[in-house]
Symmetry: C2
Subunit: 130 residues, 2 copies
DNA sequence: TTAGATGCAAAGGGTTTGCAACGTC
DNA sequence: GACGTTGCAAACCCTTTGCATCTAA
């Protein structure tokens, strides 16, 4: 089992790849990018490190209806827009409404850690094409 | 391919099972329940019909970090609370904030269809246990 | 009668894992 | 040197699909 106490080339490169993009890549895309620097990298290692980095809070795992996950190198909570036409995932430049947490705590009688908002629709690019 | 023009025993039972619960069951749970009435039902048929019913807007497909989907027989948009401890999914009895849609349309310049809110934390039951 | 739906089982496809070799501390 | 990590490939597991059979209309 992974204890995650050592910094390896692989972990470093994977994190670099993730930090270097504002997109929300799949594990496979990260794998392909990282292989440019580490040709012998294996997909299993990518998944293992993405899991570790996720536990560390260094990234977010998203899964918007697809069968596969997307990863977001921006661990600060923010909202996402998913285009129903081209399936792109975009960040929404909008403040997170922290008071939603309090509201839910009141209604549910629970303890809230965070929330996730996903907005679905048609992105500007796809709107132009129609 | 499924054209979904006929009402079959299978489709009826699957929809009944889904409507009869307020939980957010997996395809497999639905399958097990429906088999009590239709012992020869196959899992493939469950998936096919869930897909059809989803396209018809009769249910919502949710996937909250798990590798498998959960289905919600309440097609009216509502919010969900996910317990990080016991992984239960609960409905949040709270009005949907439609104005969020407008706000996002302004910020993004896109067309918004709907949004999904998931709140993560510890549910009342799990809070008591600690 | 006939096209759509089912049951079965095999295929798909993203993700996980066992194990020997490797590399960090 | 010890033990966490990797590469490889096989295993996993939920979901989809091809096809012969069945059935709702």
């Amino acid at each position: 089992m992974t204890k995650n106490t050592r910094m390896t080339k692989q972990k470093q490169v994977i994190l670099d790849v993730l930090r270097s993009t504002k997109s929300h890549p799949t594990a496979d895309w990260i794998y392909e990018q990282a292989r440019k620097q580490l040709p012998n990298l294996s997909l299993g290692t990518v998944y293992r490190n993405l899991g570790v980095l996720k536990d560390m809070g260094e990234l977010l795992e998203l899964n918007y209806g697809s069968t596969y996950s997307r990863f977001d190198g921006n661990p600060v909570n923010h909202y996402h827009f998913v285009c129903l036409n081209c399936h792109k995932v975009l960040d929404i430049e909008m403040d997170v409404e922290e008071r939603l947490n309090n509201k839910v705590e009141e209604v549910m009688g629970c303890h809230v850690k965070h929330h996730r908002l996903e907005v679905y629709g048609t992105c500007p690019q796809c709107l132009c094409k129609n």
